[in-house]
């Protein structure tokens, strides 16, 4: 029998292979693979973090920063309900829905050390009307701001729109009077619970809890927001412990990951929607029957449950099935029914179908529209409709939508609110500025004006259903489903939940040491 006598080279090879095998088998993990333990709660977000300005953001992930650093009159809780923030209570609203009066807390302090008064609130709104990125929406309804006394301020609206309170919580942020607009791109002056201690544009923002925060110092002393522009990479960062909470992940990975003991996760309906507005001002979709044919031919259940693994909740209406203004009977009108689609094609005088082009954004935000478009194409082919797909990046798509250069536009979209914002923008004549809202319906305006008198859900429900009926009758869009906000975080993280407003709300979140 030949004796095993390895030479130096063979011995080295064997030693190397042995070391690799041992390291793999014993689960050796070098410290530099996960350089954490620095006291930070680290959350990753998908959208850009270009600056610190609370009003000037072009993606909804960015909202995580103003939530931590600025305050508003009211705030939106993760479940979508409104609560007073620097206001002592919810506002007094006049019967005609035109005057909102707020009493302010007297213990709110800005990062500059100045105490907040009615003068700061009035200044912030006036500056917003002049320079805020979304000032167009404000200008359309806001008439004036009046300082009643040091801690009392009132707002006069041109027309009722109770939705402005929720809208504000997303796009506003109160500043000390006299603040230069451009200075807040680089400096935080707000009265939120955290201060920025490090900022690398579009890379990382580190924050530290303020001891003088008027609602009490936050439990979590240090928070880090890192920008990771890809869902799969976010998940890999969570799995290696480089991140504690992730803003998103590929939909298929959500359920398998949260089933593991190391992670927790949750999913709730957000103010986002996946829908396909029609260009109703030009052929072929100036014909309501063709719009209805398309709406009835789409299998939303398959798209939402099989393709998006439940991160989109199927709905044929703008309301999600669990929302107070959802109506089951109305939902049946454009439910998946190829026979009804064929009926509408006959009614339109095109029993053999027709051809149109769907413009989709690639890459999309939140979910990939491309995948759903392929299923839509197959669904529509079943009834003889030939849907062609035109892919565009978001920037080009915006321009196409603004110019009316589209026929149908399936895309996911995050809104400040569905009933208080999207419904106003979709069909109201007074919205008027958006191509997709045209042609409008004055009768719809009348109903919505009543809806927007206040936020009382019981009173609003029948009115919102009536408004939805008009949208469904005219079939302004194919409503495919409502986007859910979903996050995954490491087990042990306390007080974190996804938010209706989509942006992460980390104000109460805590990572026990």
């Amino acid at each position: 029998m030949q004796r095993f006598a390895p030479n130096r080279r063979t011995a080295l090879k064997l030693a190397g292979a042995g070391a690799f095998g041992l390291a793999t088998g014993l689960g050796w993990r070098p410290a530099f693979a996960n350089p954490r333990g620095d006291g930070f709660l680290t959350a990753s977000i998908l959208g850009a973090l270009p600056h610190l300005h609370p009003w000037d953001y072009s993606n909804h992930d960015f909202g995580a920063l103003p939530i931590l650093t600025y305050s508003n009159l009211v705030y939106t809780a993760p479940d979508g309900s409104l609560h007073p923030e620097v206001a002592k209570a919810m506002p007094e609203i006049s019967a005609d829905g035109l005057v909102y009066t707020f009493d302010l807390r007297d213990d709110v302090v800005f990062a500059t050390g100045k105490k907040l008064t009615a003068e700061d609130v009035a200044y912030s709104f006036e500056l917003y009307l002049e320079r805020g990125r979304r000032r167009g929406d404000f200008r359309a309804f806001m008439e004036s701001v009046t300082i009643e006394d040091t801690y009392r301020v009132s707002f006069q609206l041109e027309r009722p729109w109770s939705g402005w309170l929720m809208y504000l919580t997303k796009y506003m942020g109160l500043l000390p009077a006299g603040t230069e607009h451009d200075s807040i791109y680089d400096t935080i002056v707000g009265s939120g619970p955290y201060m920025v201690t490090r900022f690398e544009p579009d890379v990382v923002i580190e924050l530290e809890a303020k001891s003088d925060y008027y609602m009490g110092e936050a439990l979590q002393k240090k928070i880090r927001l890192v920008r990771i522009a890809d869902g799969a990479t976010q998940l890999a960062n969570l799995q290696t412990g480089q991140v504690d909470i992730i803003g998103t992940c590929p939909p298929k990975d959500f359920a398998p990951t949260v089933a593991l003991p190391e992670y927790e996760g949750a999913m709730i309906p957000s103010a986002g929607i996946f829908y396909a507005p029609f260009n109703r001002q030009a052929a072929p979709f100036d014909n309501v029957h063709l719009r209805r044919a398309v709406a009835s031919a789409i299998d939303r259940e398959f798209i939402c449950n099989e393709l998006y693994y439940g991160v989109v909740t199927p709905s044929t209406l703008p309301a999600a099935p669990q929302e107070y203004w959802y109506d089951e009977e109305l939902a049946k009108v454009h439910a998946y029914d190829p026979d009804r689609a064929r009926f509408h094609l006959r009614e339109a005088g095109m029993p053999n179908g027709f051809r149109f082009t769907a413009t989709i954004p690639v890459p999309s935000a939140y979910i990939e529209a491309q995948e759903a478009a392929i299923i839509m194409q197959a669904n529509l082919a079943e009834v003889g409709i030939d849907m062609r797909i035109r892919q565009m990046d978001f920037s080009s798509m915006y321009a196409a939508a603004q110019n009316g250069d589209f026929e149908c536009f399936p895309h996911p979209s995050m809104q400040p609110s569905i009933e208080d914002y999207l419904l106003a923008q979709s069909y109201m004549c007074i919205a008027g500025k958006q191509y997709m809202s045209q042609p409008c319906n004055p009768a719809y305006d009348e109903v919505m004006a009543e809806v927007y008198l206040d936020n009382d859900q019981e009173r609003r429900r029948p009115l919102l259903i009536e408004a939805t009926r008009k949208l469904v009758e005219d079939c302004t869009s194919v409503w495919i489903g409502r986007l859910n906000t979903y996050h995954i975080w490491r087990t042990g993280i306390e007080n974190f939940e996804p938010s209706y407003m989509y942006a992460m709300d980390l104000r109460k979140t805590h990572q026990p040491s």
């Binding site: 990125r133 544009p201 522009a229």
Partner: protein
């Protein structure tokens, strides 16, 4: 040499001017609009017009180009529309990261390519040669985003040996800095390793057939010395050109790797700026990359002359 350098610098100026014209025109002819990308399509057209005027995008395209070019000649590449910072400052902040990644990738590429190329030529037609060429082919063919994801899954998520993303400057923490560079450098370096390896193998085969090699062997010079001392040095000259090109491509072509590994370098900056139609930033980065590429090649030409005195630049 001085004349050569002067000539190359003049041609650099011409190349940069051409590149500036092309990139400016491409950005303006591309569909899309930075203002709409910032505001979304549900924005008041009055506000859109106000912002367009604020950014100077309402001026005629030629006026915009002339203004931008005049500033660029003075070293002012403008201000990023989205990040609201000087393009030059952004490049200064991000370039060291990309440079570190490119250097690490070149090290990986050469560390793999040199021994593989030399041994493949030395053992031509044998198993080692076949394996090297097969691996080389795989390296060239494999898309780097796929390789990157495989490395993340195996070394990051499964074994947890290396971080899956982010960047730590080596000057701040050498160990963590190197750890963060390993996977992206392998991802970026692999394709170039294969290219360099194939070029080196070809050069080595050529050199090994030369008379002076046969003479050295006839004199009984050990094969290892013949290979590494006599043949390798001469075979390195064409390889140097390929390596120089590879380095230039690495510096300018880190986009996918930086996005996958979440590395805040120039590549990721370029990717984001294209998506948001951040005109000044895209123009500035492209111009910078063009200049870099030309300069790297100039450096390679100078190195050529230094290594081989027979070559005159």
């Amino acid at each position: 040499m001085l004349g050569f350098l002067l000539q190359r610098l003049i041609s650099l100026g011409i190349v940069l001017f051409g590149a500036s014209l092309v990139i400016f025109a491409i950005m303006r002819f591309l569909p899309g609009d930075p203002v709409l990308a910032m505001l979304g399509f549900d924005t008041d057209p009055v506000v859109v017009a106000e912002l367009r005027a604020e950014l100077g995008l309402d001026r005629p395209v030629l006026v915009q180009y002339a203004g931008w070019l005049a500033d660029a000649v003075r070293g002012d590449l403008g201000t990023s529309i989205f990040l609201r910072r000087e393009v030059v400052d952004l490049l200064a902040a991000r370039f060291p990261t990309t440079l570190a990644l490119a250097i690490a990738s070149l090290v990986v590429a050469l560390a793999v390519a040199v021994p593989a190329g030399v041994l493949s030529a030395r053992y031509k037609g044998k198993a080692l040669d076949h394996v090297s060429r097969l691996v080389g082919l795989a390296g060239v063919s494999m898309p780097n985003f796929w390789l990157g994801l495989l490395l993340i899954m195996f070394f990051g998520v499964q074994l947890r040996w290396l971080p899956v993303g982010g960047y730590v400057p080596i000057t701040q923490d050498p160990l963590a800095g190197l750890a963060h560079l390993i996977l992206p450098a392998i991802t970026l370096g692999t394709a170039y390793a294969a290219t360099i390896m194939r070029m080196l193998r070809g050069s080595m085969l050529d050199v090994l057939r030369r008379d002076y090699v046969a003479v050295a062997r006839a004199y009984g010079v050990p094969e290892r010395t013949v290979t590494w001392h006599d043949a390798f040095k001469n075979a390195m000259i064409p390889t140097l050109t390929v390596s120089g090109f590879a380095f230039g491509y690495m510096l300018a072509g880190t986009i996918i790797v930086e996005v996958i590994f979440n590395i805040p370098g120039v590549g990721r900056l370029l990717y984001e700026s294209i998506l948001t139609r951040d005109y000044p930033l895209v123009q500035g980065i492209v111009l910078f990359n063009v200049a870099l590429f030309v300069l790297v090649n100039l450096l390679v030409d100078v190195l050529y002359a230094t290594i081989d005195p027979r070559i005159k630049v």
